[in-house]
C-alpha cells in the first residue's frame, strides 16, 4: 500500500509541475511564483496581485491556463479510455486510436463542420455530441464486424478490424476534405489535433463528458480487473459481462468522442500512458485508472508545451509530438510482448 500512496504523490506532483511549466514557458515568460499568486487571487479574491503586470495576468488567465487545462482534460480522457479498452480487450495494444474510435469521432466532427450542423437547444454541444455518437457507432461496427469474422472475438481480430475501420474512415475524411472549399483549413487544422486558442468554452464542453465517462469507468474497476482474465472467467466470478462491457464501451466512447471534439485526433496517448502506468504501478484497475488520469494529463500538457516551443514561433500540431513519442513506444511494447510470449511458450 505504501508504494501505491507514493504512486499517487508522484503522479500528482508530475501533473502540478507539468501545469506550472506549461503556464510559465512561452513567448512571454511568466515566473512560477506569479502564476501561483495569479491563480490564488482568482480563487481567493482578497489576495492582492497589484504588483504583477496585468499583461501576465491576462496571458495566464485567458490563454495559457485554459490551454493547459484543456490539454490536461484531453490527456486524461484519452488515457483513462485507453486503459479501459486495454483492460476490456485484455491487450496492451488496444486504444481509442487503434480501435477506430478516434477516427469514428473525427468523422462525426468533420461532418458537423462540413454541413454546419447545429442541433437545436444544444448549440456548442452539437459537435461533441455528434462526435460521441459516431465514436459509439464505430466501436459497435468494429466489434460487430469482428464477431462476424471470428466468433471467439480474438483480440487480434478486433485490433485488425479497428485498423481497417480507421483506414476506411480516414479515407472518407480525406474525401470530404477534397470536396470542401473554404472550410478546408478549419477541418485540417482541427484534424491534426491542437489545444491552442480554444479558450474556456471548450473546457466547458469537455468537462461534463469527462466527468461522466471517468466516473462510469472508475466505478467498473473491479469488473475490469475480472475481465482482464477473460470474459468467461469474469462471468464465473459473478460479473454481468455483457452489460458491463457495454457500459464500459459507452463510457470509453463518450471520453474519446469528447476529446476528439475539442482537440481533434491525438494519437498514442491512450496507448502509451496506460501501458507505462501499468509497468510502473501494476495492472490493478482500481489504481491504474486514476493514476492514468494524472499521468495522461501531465503528459499531454508537456507534449503541448513541446509542440509550441520546439520550433517557436511556429506551432506544431500536438498530434505530431505524441506520435513522435508514441510510435516508437508502441514498437517497443510490441517487441517486448513478443519476447514475453516466446519465453512464455517455452515455459
Amino acid at each position: 500500500m505504501k508504494s501505491k500512496a507514493f504512486a499517487y504523490v508522484f503522479a500528482t506532483v508530475f501533473l502540478i509541475v507539468a501545469m506550472l511549466l506549461g503556464i510559465s514557458i512561452g513567448s512571454v515568460h511568466v515566473p512560477i511564483v506569479n502564476i501561483i499568486q495569479i491563480i490564488g487571487a482568482e480563487i481567493f479574491r482578497f489576495i492582492s496581485i497589484d504588483h504583477i503586470d496585468p499583461m501576465q495576468t491576462n496571458i495566464v488567465m485567458s490563454i495559457r491556463l485554459p490551454r493547459v487545462l484543456l490539454a490536461a482534460l484531453v490527456g486524461a480522457a484519452l488515457a483513462i479510455a485507453g486503459a479501459a479498452f486495454q483492460g476490456l480487450l485484455r491487450n496492451p495494444l488496444a486504444d481509442p486510436y487503434t480501435l477506430g474510435v478516434s477516427s469514428g469521432a473525427s468523422v462525426g466532427a468533420v461532418m458537423t463542420l462540413f454541413f454546419q450542423f447545429s442541433i437545436p437547444f444544444v448549440g456548442a454541444f452539437t459537435l461533441p455530441l455528434l462526435s460521441i455518437l459516431s465514436a459509439f457507432l464505430t466501436i459497435f461496427l468494429v466489434l460487430g464486424f469482428a464477431r462476424k469474422i471470428d466468433k471467439g472475438m480474438k483480440v487480434e481480430t478486433i485490433i485488425l478490424t479497428g485498423i481497417i475501420f480507421s483506414s476506411f474512415l480516414g479515407a472518407f475524411i480525406s474525401l470530404v476534405i477534397a470536396l470542401t472549399g473554404e472550410e478546408l483549413r478549419q477541418i485540417i487544422g482541427w484534424l491534426l489535433g491542437s489545444v491552442s486558442m480554444r479558450g474556456w468554452t471548450y473546457i466547458k464542453i469537455i468537462l461534463p463528458f469527462f466527468l461522466i465517462g471517468s466516473i462510469i469507468i472508475m466505478a467498473n474497476s473491479k469488473e475490469l480487473n475480472a475481465m482482464s482474465f477473460g470474459e468467461e472467467r469474469a462471468q464465473h466470478l459473478g460479473v454481468n459481462v455483457q452489460r458491463r462491457k457495454m457500459v464500459i464501451l459507452i463510457a470509453g466512447s463518450i471520453l474519446t468522442g469528447a476529446a476528439v471534439a475539442v482537440s481533434g485526433t491525438i494519437g498514442f496517448v491512450g496507448l502509451v500512458i496506460p501501458h507505462l502506468t501499468r509497468i510502473l504501478w501494476g495492472p490493478d484497475h482500481r489504481h491504474l485508472l486514476p493514476l492514468s488520469i494524472l499521468t495522461g494529463s501531465g503528459f499531454l500538457i508537456l507534449a503541448d508545451l513541446v509542440s509550441r516551443t520546439i520550433i517557436s514561433p511556429i506551432e506544431l500540431p500536438i498530434g505530431v509530438i505524441t506520435a513522435l513519442i508514441g510510435a516508437p513506444a508502441f514498437g517497443l511494447i510490441l517487441m517486448k510482448r513478443r519476447s514475453v510470449e516466446r519465453s512464455g511458450s517455452d515455459a
Binding site: G87, E232, R233, H236, L237, G238, V239, N240, G282, A347
Partner: protein
Amino acid sequence: MLKVEQLSGGYSNEPIVKDVSFQVQKGELFGILGPNGSGKTTLLKMISGILPFQSGKISIKGQSIKSFSMKELAKMMAVLSQHSSQAFSYTVKETVSLGRYAHQTGWFRSWSEEDERIVQESMEQTGIRAFQNKSIQELSGGERQRVFLAQALVQEPEILLLDEPTNHLDLSYQKELLDLLKRWTREKGLTVISIFHDLNLASLYCDRLLLLENGSVHTNATPNEVVKVEKIKEVYHTDVEKHPHPSIPVPQMVLLPSFKNEENIVEIGPEFMHFSKEHISLHAPVPLRTMSSGVIGSGVGWHQTFVNRHVDKTYDCSDHRSEMLHYLKEHGFEPSQTIGMMTAVWLEDVSYKLIKGDDFSIFVIVTAGVSNAVDASKSDQHSFEMIPGTINTWVFVNGQLTEEAFIQSIMTATEAKVKVMDSEKVLDRVTGTTATGTSTDSILIAATQMGKKLEFAGTITPLGKLISQGVFECTTEAVQKSRQRLKAK
C-alpha cells in the same frame, strides 16, 4: 444439489449436448468422461451459465439457474477452466482476491477482514501463499492452476466445476489437487463436478461417473460400473484392458498399443541357461510376463533374468532380501529385471526339460531337496522357521497366457509336485505322514506372451497337460538325484 433435466444445446442449431439428464448430490465428487467432441465442455459451460441451452432445465437446490443473477450464481458455483488468459501481470494475491467479487456488494464496499482471512486461508490451502506477491506471469503452469483454484475457492462456492483440472499438472500435483478436492467433499460437503480425460484418475477419486457419447448419456453409475472394458471400447473405440487397483477397490484401465512386435517369436529353452557353482541363471532375450514367489521380483510383473542361487544350510535368513539384492548386483544382474530364488540343494541335481505341444511349448526347471518336507494337512505341528527353499519350480511357457491361465498353471504345477511327494514316498519327519512339499518351496510361471493364445491351464487343458507332465518328470528326477547324492555321502 444440482439437477439437469433433458438438457439440449450447443453453439449452433445442431445441438452438441442431446437430452442429458442427471443429478448430483451434495458432497459428491462427480466425474464427466467421454472422448473428444462428446460434449463434455459444452455441458459444463451450460451448467456454469456461460452457454445458453435450447431446451431442458438446470436447477440448483430446486431453483432454475436462470432465476439467479450472475453474482448469486457466483456465490454458489465456482468454475476452474482449462485455460485462463493473463494479459497483465497481476500479483498472485490480486488474482485470488478477485474471487471475492460476488461477495462485495455496493460500489464502495471496501475490503473487509473477513475477505482477507478467506483469501489468506485459500492461499494457504493451495500452497501459494509463499509467492503471493509474485506476478502470475512468472509462475509455472501448475502454480498458475493453483492460483485459479484458490480464486475459485474464495468465492466460497457450494459447487465447484472443473474442466480437466489436472491438465497442466505433473503427477504429484495431480494427486495433491484431487486429494484436496476429495477431502473438501468429505469435510466441507463441497460438491465437485469435474471433466476428466484420464479414466484411471476419474475412477480413483470419483463417487460417480457420467460417460458421454456423442452428446448423450451412455452410462451414469459408479466407477466400477462405468469403467468396464466393453463400455470403454465401445465409446472410445480403442483397445484397453482392465486391472484392479492394487490397494483400493477401483478399476484401472491400461491401453493396448496396436504396434506388432517386430522381433521373431522367442522360444525359451535350455540354450538360455547358464550354470555356475553358486547359481543357475536363465537370461531371456525379451522380458517375460511373470507370476512368482521368489525372494526378489515376486508377485506379478515383467522380468528378463531368473536366478536360482545355492546357499549353505547354515545361511542366515534374517535379512535375506537385501543380502540377495546385494548378491545379484555383485554378479551383474539388474535386480529390477530379475527374479531371484534361493535353495540349499546342490545345483548339479537340477532337472530340466523342454516339452513341445501343439504350436507352443514349455520349459521346466526344478531343483529339489526334501530334507524339510512337510505335510500341508498337518502343518500346525511345525514351528515357523525360515530355511532356504528346497523345491524351486520354474515353468516357462512359450505362448500367450491369460491371468486365469497363470493362476491355473500354479495350481497344476503344485498338484504335480504333490503327486511326486506321494510317488517318491517323501515323508514329513515330524508327523511321519506323506509330505506335500517342503516348508519353503517357490514357484515361477513365466510366459513370453507371444505366439499361441493359451486361455486356460487346468490339468486337462493342452497347456495343463504339458505342465503336469513336465513338473512331474522333472521333480521326480530332481528328488531322485538329490536322494542318491545323500546316499552316496
